[in-house]
Each structure stands twice: as C-alpha cells, then as structure tokens.
Symmetry: C2
Subunit: 349 residues, 2 copies
Amino acid sequence: MSVITVIGSGQMGSSLSIPLLDNGHEVRLVGSPLDGEIIDGLRENNHHKTLMRDLPKTDKLKFYKIEELDKALPGTDLVVCGVSSFGVDWFGKEILPKIPKDIEILSVTKGMINEDDGNLTVYPDYWKREYDNDRDIYAIGGPCTARGLTDKEETFVAFCGVDVEKLKWIKSIFETPYYIINLTTDVVGLEAAVALKNGYALATAIGMGMAEKRDDGIKFINGISTLFQQSTKEMFELLEFMNCDLKNIMYAVGDLYVTVQAGRSRTVGLLLGKGLSIEEVKKELKGQTLEAIVIATRTADAVRKLSKKNILDEKDFPLLMHVDELLNKDAKLNVPWKDFEIIDDYKNK
Amino acid sequence: MSVITVIGSGQMGSSLSIPLLDNGHEVRLVGSPLDGEIIDGLRENNHHKTLMRDLPKTDKLKFYKIEELDKALPGTDLVVCGVSSFGVDWFGKEILPKIPKDIEILSVTKGMINEDDGNLTVYPDYWKREYDNDRDIYAIGGPCTARGLTDKEETFVAFCGVDVEKLKWIKSIFETPYYIINLTTDVVGLEAAVALKNGYALATAIGMGMAEKRDDGIKFINGISTLFQQSTKEMFELLEFMNCDLKNIMYAVGDLYVTVQAGRSRTVGLLLGKGLSIEEVKKELKGQTLEAIVIATRTADAVRKLSKKNILDEKDFPLLMHVDELLNKDAKLNVPWKDFEIIDDYKNK
C-alpha cells in the first residue's frame, strides 16, 4: 500500500481518492489556498461541498489545509496535482520546490500556455521549463466527471508521461474495475487533446443554447452535431500541427462528449448560444472558474499568431475564431456555418 | 434550374427535396417498392407519413410510384439513390441499368459489404464492381437527421466522389445557407466513416440503456463517454486500416453524435443496454429496418477474418466484438471495460 498526497481538494482531485481508497492506499487530501471551506466541511462530516458527495469515513483518508503541507508530505509515495489551470503557477512556484525529487507527480490539471511565438505548451512541459528542469511530470487526461468517478461509474482515462515503466507503476496504484486507464508516452498529444476540448465544448454548447432559445419545437440536433463535427475537425488539425499521435483524437472527442453533457464549459456556451454577451455570462456565473474561456482564448491567440507567420491558416478554424470574437471582441452571435465548408481533394494530393 | 429524380422516398431521400426546392429545382420523388403508402400519402395531402412532416405544395415537387419510373427519368439531370442498405442490390440490378450513362448518381445509402477475404467495400465501389463497371457513383455522408434537414436546421455533410469538378457541380445544386457541404475525393474514407458509426452508435447507446436501467440516481455520463471514446478509437483504427484520410474521423464522430441522439440504431443499443436479448429487441422493433445490426455484424465479421490472417487483431476491437456477440451469439450483456486499456508507447516507437 502507498501514501498518495493530493494537492488541491476541488472536485476532480477529491474524486481521485475513491479508486485510491478502494485499493487500500492512504490518501492525504490537501486543500489549496482556495479550498479552506471544503477542508472544513470534510473535517466536519466528510461531506464535500462542491462535489456534493460524502467521501468515505476511514482512517486512510486524511484532510489538510495548505499550511499543513509539511505534515502531509512525509512518507508520500506519489503526489497528485489537483489544482485548476488558474493554480498552475502557484503549484510551480510554491509547491514543486517542496516535493522531494524522488517522488513522482501526477497532474490532473487541464490546459495549455500560449507562447509569444504562437506555440502552445502543455503544463508538464511548462512546469519543467519554468520551475524544475529536472522533473518529468505525469498527467491524466480523458473524459471523467468527478461525480461519476466518485459514484464508481466506469470511467476511461489515459495517463501520460515519458517513462512507460513509471506509468505502469502509477496505473497499478489507481486502477480498479471501474477506473479504466490507458497509458501513453505522447504527453503533448494527450494533454493538448483534453485541453482543446474545453474550448470546443463551449463552442458545441452554443448550439445547445440556440436549441433552447428556439420556440418552434425544433430540436436542432443537426445544428449541434454540425458544431460537434467542426470541433472535431479543428481539434484534429491542431493535434496534427502539434505533431501528436493522431489517435489521441479519441481523448479530445471522448472528453468533448462528456463536457457538453454538464458543467461550466457547457454553461458558458449555452448562455452565449441563447444570445447573452460574454459580460452577461460572466455576471451570471460570478465567482466560478471558467477554464473554457481561458483555453479557447489561448488557442485562438496561438492560431492567429501562427496564421500571421503562415504556419497555420486561421480560415481553417472558423469556429474557434468566432468563439474568440464572442469571448474577447464583444461580437454578436453569428455562427459562421458556411465557413466550415472545405474541399479535400485527398486522392489527388 | 435542374431536374433531380430521387429514387427511394423514405425519410432521408424525401428530406433532400427541401434544399433542392429552395434552390428552384424540380424534384421527382419516386417511391421504392416498399414506399407505396408513403407516395399515396404524399399525393393525398403532401404529408410524409414516416418523416412526419408536410412537404412543400408546389408544382416543382412530383410524386411517382416505382412502376412510373419511366415517366420520372426523362429530362433528369441528376439521380439521387435514397434506398436503405437493404435496397442496395435492388438498386444495382433494377434501377442502375435504366439510368443513362451521362446522368450522375448521388447516393445517400450508408453501409458496407463484408467480403469473403475480410475486406469491407463501400457501396459506390460495390455498385461499380457488381453492376456497372463504367460508372462512378457519388455519395453523401455526415450527420443529418431527415427531420432536421426538413426543418432547415443547419446541417453539415460531405459529398464524395472521384471527380472534384463534378462534385462542385453537384454541390451547387444542393447548397443552401443551412445545408453545409464539404467535398472530398476520399470516397472510401467518407463512406466507411459514416457506415461504421451506425454499429458504434448501437454500441454507445448500450451505455444509455444501462443508465436508464439504473435506479440509483447515477447518470452514468462517464460510462457513456467511455463507450463514445472507445467507439472513436476503434473507428479510427478501421479507417487507418482502410487507408483513408484520417481527418474523415470527423464524419464518423459527428455522425456518431447525431445517431446516439435519436433513431433506430440508438434504440437497439438502448434496449440491449437495458438487458434485453437481441431476439427481444427485434420483437419490440418489429418490421423496422435495423441497419446498425447489419453494419456491426459485417464489420465484426471483417475484423475476425482479418484477425485470423494477422492483418488486424480482434483484441484491438473489444467493443465491436462484444456487440457482435450480443447480436449474433446470444451473449449476455457484459461490456469488456478493462479490455479497452492500451499502452501506447508512441514516443519510443
């Protein structure tokens, strides 16, 4: 049995305690500076306030506030980084230096950094470059709602990292009959796939908002599927540009599917699709972290920069460009349906 | 303005009349031998019985029974084949010889033939080989519910064929602001993608049936996404095997998304997911054409044959294999979740 310290006690980080406890490990759940109330609630009666689930009452699950990190780390075999993308630099600056070099880290944070030159950097590479050049960080991607995992639904994710043997060891700690885990050494491929889908979930959910707004009884299934298909096409081309294993489109698509079912990324798109401006959307969702806005904006910024350098063509990403205009340029909703059309003379290339 | 003769007045063939009429073309809708009642209903009051919509009342839309085909064909610029996959040989044998060689044909029939050697043949290639060696047939693929198109929802499909210039001409006949059309010369890629998705829609809908059957309040979103993701993975590998433009995964995925929302393929999976045997499912859906069963069975047959020849490995298609066992080997529902796991050492290949 091992000791796993999870830093960040939001929904996703906390839900990972379920397969870990099922496997008999000790889990130390450490709240980030934003998670004080969650830890208070868990200490009171094991109820997780935002996850809206009771965590198991067992000696093997221990709760810590961030000031108690020094108590949580000794004896740890593996650290899980469960912060949101807004905590990436905090984790790199404040936490990474405190984790001994021989302890592996598995991150569940989804997102990418847009560089000045137009490139997109996934978080494991960003942490390595900015905060700890010697450290290879492992990561989780794939379709997983925290509540579904907590409820022990069958959940199919992938773990990525540079070393297959270490990946197998990390998998052995987490795997249960309901937690299905692929392994891949294509870190950029997996991390880019599951980061991109947040922005495209917002994009696809715009169609769901348009459907809800209609009062003519039309379900708009074709319209929503159009956005799902165009999202897949644009994500595929971005993975291609980033030299990824193209099979990783499976994670982008699987995660897109789960993300448009429920959650904040979906809600932002839904409200935009109903005709709200982004300011109105932010007002309605006040106080919530909106990762989809961050990743859509960053990806669009990268595409525009690369388009100026003739490396990509922003005309190939009409959906992303319109989403960016809605989010950042105060544009009115006007999905560029006809701009999706392409002629692909594959056989004569 | 052109004259378009649509052969097969089922839902999909009939819905195509909407963009055609919007573009001012004359549409001659010819019922197949199975469509007699539909044509009777349309002649009575323009109501389409199975589509459950009224078609426009205009001189430009004319209805014919199959015995009147000779009246419908003269002056036709383009023939649309709107039969189901059960009418493929009927169309090849009875209809193809009656269509003058200089008239192009656009097929909306989705499916593939499983060959004795394990290969899968898309219908345009099958018709060419079996019935008319000189004829290149064009085809439509992509996510489109017939009702959505009839309601003029934004609908995003692709037309495929060997000659880009002819594709552009066919597109010019159909395209409207709401009917969004890609063009591709990768006939096998598009046709395989949209055929495969029928079987995988059945597979994914199994999760939806499992969700409906539960009485513990669990939504099973992770479980359904697991099946959606695994479906994407298996379709991707089949497209790869068939030497397709891998970007065509967009159509497989878009069409998978639309197909799991509603319709017969979904219903078969849903009922299997609730625990019904395939015999019980067929009894419940008596009289309905179940294309998903055909394509899942044919694809599984191909994979098994190719696996015996060591060209593919059936272990890479655990979801398809289980669906085949449910459909054809009287197996009990037992989704092989853990068999989905793979180790992809991409970076060290």
